[in-house]
C-alpha cells in the first residue's frame, strides 16, 4: 500500500493545492479590490479623474492633491468642508470615551467574575443585551434626555463632544465588561482567595493581583473601543448637528454625498477616514481579532 499510494497521492495533492491557492488568491484580490479602486482614484489629478473610462487604470501621474483637498476642503466655489475638523472631533471624543469605558469595563468585569453576588449572572445577561440592542430603539429618549438635562443643569450635552462621549461610554459598558469578565474568569479564583486570606482587600486584590495580569485584556478592549467609536456613524449623525462636532464618519458622508466634490477627493477622504483603524489593525491585528471574537460572546 505504501508503495502505491504516494504517487497517486502526490498527484492529487498538487492538483488540489493549486486549486486551493488559486481560490485564496482570487478571494484576496476580491477583498483588496475596493482598496485598489480607492487608491487609484485618490492618486489621480482632477483632470485625470474626469476620464471615467480609465477609472480602473492606475494614474499616469501620481499626485497627492486630492488628499490635501479631502483634508482641508476647498475654497473654490462651491466651497466644501474637509475632513480636518471631523478628524480632530473624532480624536477628542475617541480618547476619553475609550479610556473611560475600558476602566469601567475592567472594574465591572472584576466584580462580576470574582465577587459574584446573588443575581450577578442575571445582571450580566441584562447588561449584555445593551450590546445587541438596535440603538434606534433608544435614540429618541437619548436626544430628549440630553435636552432635559440641559434644561435642568444648563450643561449642554446635545451636539457636544461630551454628549457623544457619554453615549459611547454608556453603550460601550456591555462589551468592555464582557471582555474583562471573561478574561478575569479564567484567572484562578484560588489566587484571589489566597490573597484575601493574606489580608488583601477588595481594592488591593484588584490593584496588586488582577491589574498586573490584565494587560492583554486592556489592549484588546482599548483597541476594540477605539475602532468601534471611530467607526460609529449613528450616534454621530443623531447627536451632532454642526460641523464643529461632527465625527469623521459624518464628515466623510457629507463629503461623499456632495455632488460638488470630485470623486478622487471623495475616495481620498474615505482612505483618510479608514487610516487610523487600519493602522491599528496592521500593527495590533491579533488583539483586534480577539475583541472581534469576544463580541460574539463565546463563539
Amino acid at each position: 500500500m505504501a508503495a502505491v499510494v504516494p504517487t497517486r497521492h502526490r498527484f492529487s495533492f498538487h492538483w488540489t493545492r493549486i486549486v486551493i491557492y488559486a481560490l485564496l488568491i482570487f478571494f484576496a484580490l476580491w477583498f483588496l479590490m475596493p482598496v485598489y479602486v480607492l487608491l487609484m482614484a485618490s492618486l489621480k489629478s482632477q483632470a485625470e479623474a474626469l476620464q471615467i473610462q480609465n477609472m480602473w487604470l492606475p494614474p499616469r501621474i501620481i499626485g497627492f492633491k486630492s488628499f490635501l483637498t479631502a483634508w482641508f476642503g476647498s475654497n473654490e466655489p462651491p466651497a466644501t468642508l474637509g475632513l480636518e475638523q471631523g478628524f480632530w472631533n473624532s480624536v477628542s471624543l475617541v480618547i476619553p470615551a475609550t479610556i473611560l469605558s475600558t476602566l469601567i469595563g475592567s472594574i465591572n468585569g472584576y466584580i462580576l467574575s470574582k465577587w459574584k453576588f446573588r443575581g450577578a449572572d442575571l445582571i450580566f445577561t441584562l447588561m449584555l443585551f445593551g450590546m445587541f440592542l438596535p440603538y434606534q430603539s433608544i435614540l429618541i429618549p437619548l436626544v430628549v434626555s440630553y435636552q432635559t438635562f440641559t434644561n435642568w443643569t444648563g450643561i449642554q450635552l446635545f451636539s457636544t463632544i461630551p454628549g457623544l462621549v457619554v453615549a459611547h461610554v454608556i453603550y460601550g459598558i456591555p462589551i468592555c465588561t464582557l471582555i474583562f469578565r471573561n478574561y478575569y474568569a479564567q484567572l484562578p479564583t484560588e489566587m484571589v482567595e489566597a490573597a484575601r486570606i493574606d489580608g488583601a482587600n477588595f481594592f488591593s486584590i484588584y490593584r496588586r493581583i488582577l491589574l498586573p495580569l490584565s494587560q492583554p485584556a486592556f489592549v484588546v478592549v482599548l483597541i476594540w473601543q477605539f475602532t468601534s467609536i471611530w467607526n460609529d456613524f449613528l450616534f454621530g449623525v443623531t447627536l451632532a448637528n454642526t460641523p464643529k462636532v461632527y465625527p469623521i464618519t459624518v464628515s466623510l458622508n457629507n463629503i461623499a454625498g456632495s455632488f460638488h466634490v470630485p470623486y478622487n477627493v471623495q475616495m481620498a477622504a474615505a482612505l483618510l477616514t479608514a487610516l487610523p483603524p487600519l493602522l491599528v489593525y496592521v500593527f495590533l491585528g491579533r488583539y483586534f481579532i480577539r475583541g472581534l471574537m469576544a463580541g460574539s460572546l463565546k463563539g
Binding site: A28, W115, L133, P134, N201, N231, V237, A269
Partner: protein, 354 residues
C-alpha cells in the same frame, strides 16, 4: 482548590471566622456599590429608554412639537394596515430586509466557511491571507459604503458607464450591466404569469404583489455588506475548526474516511454551535443595517428599493420629525432583534454554567 490543601487548617486557626465573614460582607457591599453606577446607567439608557420609546410610539407626537396625547396603536396600524405611504413603505422595508438578511447571511456563511476550510489546509502565508480577509472588519460601514457606491455607480450610455458596468462593457459582457443600488426593479410573481395566476386562483393573490418580491437593488447592499463581514464569518469558523481535536480527524482518516467525508460527518456537525452563533450575529447585524445603506444610497431610493426598517426609523424620526411614527418602527425593530438575541443570550449563559 486542590493546590493549597495544607493552607486551609492554618487559616482557619489563625483568622477568627466571624471577623473574616464580616469583612467579606463589607467588601461585598463595596463591590455592589461600585457596580451600581453601571447598572443604573444601563438600566436607564437601555431599559427605561426602551420603555420610553414604547410610550412615545403610542402618542400623537408626529411633528416637531412634543404631543403626548395617547393614540393607542394608531402608529402601528399606519404601518401594517391599509395602503397609505407609511404602510407601503414599511411593507417594502420588510421585503427588502428579508431579502437582504437571507442573501447576506447565506453568502457570508458560504464564503466564510469556504475560506476557513481553505485556510485550514496548512497554507503557506496563512497569516497574510487571514489578515486580508479580515481587514474590512476594521473599517467603518461609511467608508465601505462610499467605496462600493463608487464601484457600483451604474453611469449611463450617454455620459459613460462607470464602475463594474464599465468593466462589463470592456469585457463585452454588456448583458450584465445593471442599475445596481439604483435599480428600481422588483422581482415578484406577476399576476399575469403562470405562478402568479396559480397563487391568485388558490386565494394567495397577495403573494403575487411587489410586497412579496425581491428588490434587485438590495443585491448591491448584500455585496458591500458581504465584503465587510464574510472575513469575520471565516474567523469564527476557523476558530471553530481549529478547536476540533486532531485525534478526531485522525481517527476518521484511519477508518478510511475521505477528506470530504470527514467534513460532512465530523467537522460540519461539530461546527453546529458556531453556525448558530454566526447566524444570530449576522442576522442581527442585518436587521440593524443602517450606516451602509445610508452612505451607499444617501438614504433615498426610487420606490424604496433599498429602504430598510432601521433607515426608515431614522428618516421618519429625525428628517420628517414624526417621532411617534419613528418610535413605532424602532419598537418593531427591537422586537425582531430581541426574538433573535434573547434566546441566544440565554443559550450562551446557560452553556457557560455547564
Amino acid at each position: 482548590m486542590s493546590t493549597t490543601p495544607q493552607a486551609i487548617p492554618y487559616t482557619e486557626a489563625a483568622v477568627p471566622k466571624k471577623r473574616w465573614l464580616s469583612r467579606q460582607n463589607w467588601e461585598r457591599i463595596v463591590s455592589v456599590v461600585i457596580l451600581l453606577p453601571s447598572i443604573l446607567a444601563l438600566g436607564l439608557f437601555v431599559y427605561v429608554f426602551i420603555g420610553w420609546t414604547g410610550f412615545i410610539s403610542l402618542t400623537a407626537w408626529n411633528s416637531a412639537a412634543p404631543d403626548f396625547t395617547f393614540v393607542g396603536m394608531q402608529n402601528y396600524a399606519r404601518l401594517f394596515i391599509g395602503s397609505g405611504t407609511d404602510a407601503i413603505r414599511f411593507r417594502y422595508d420588510i421585503r427588502n430586509e428579508v431579502g437582504f438578511l437571507v442573501l447576506f447571511v447565506g453568502g457570508c456563511i458560504v464564503i466564510g466557511f469556504l475560506l476557513a476550510t481553505l485556510l485550514d489546509r496548512k497554507i503557506r502565508g496563512e497569516g497574510i491571507f487571514r489578515s486580508i480577509f479580515l481587514f474590512p472588519m476594521a473599517i467603518s460601514f461609511i467608508v465601505t459604503g462610499v467605496a462600493w457606491r463608487w464601484i457600483l455607480t451604474p453611469g449611463d450610455p450617454n455620459t459613460g458607464w462607470i464602475g463594474v458596468n464599465l468593466l462589463f462593457t470592456n469585457l463585452g459582457l454588456d448583458f450584465l450591466r445593471n442599475g445596481w443600488f439604483t435599480a428600481p426593479t422588483v422581482v415578484y410573481f406577476h399576476p399575469e404569469t403562470g405562478v402568479g395566476q396559480l397563487l391568485t386562483n388558490i386565494g394567495l393573490g397577495f403573494l403575487a404583489t411587489p410586497d412579496f418580491g425581491y428588490a434587485v437593488a438590495m443585491t448591491s447592499i448584500v455585496v458591500a455588506a458581504g465584503w465587510q463581514m464574510s472575513g469575520y464569518t471565516m474567523a469564527l469558523y476557523l476558530a471553530g475548526i481549529r478547536s476540533i481535536p486532531d485525534d478526531l480527524r485522525e481517527a476518521a482518516r484511519v477508518d478510511g474516511a475521505s477528506e470530504w467525508q470527514i467534513y460532512r460527518h465530523v467537522i460540519i456537525p461539530l461546527l453546529r454551535p458556531v453556525t448558530l452563533t454566526v447566524v444570530v450575529i449576522l442576522a442581527h447585524i442585518a436587521l440593524k443595517i443602517f450606516d451602509l445603506v445610508y452612505s451607499m444610497t444617501g438614504g433615498v431610493s426610487a420606490g424604496f428599493a433599498t429602504d430598510v426598517p432601521a433607515l426608515n426609523m431614522w428618516k421618519t424620526t429625525f428628517d420628517a420629525t414624526k417621532f411617534a411614527q419613528g418610535a413605532s418602527i424602532a419598537i418593531i425593530l427591537l422586537l425582531m432583534v430581541g426574538v433573535l438575541i434573547i434566546p441566544y443570550l440565554i443559550w450562551q449563559t446557560r452553556s457557560e454554567e455547564h
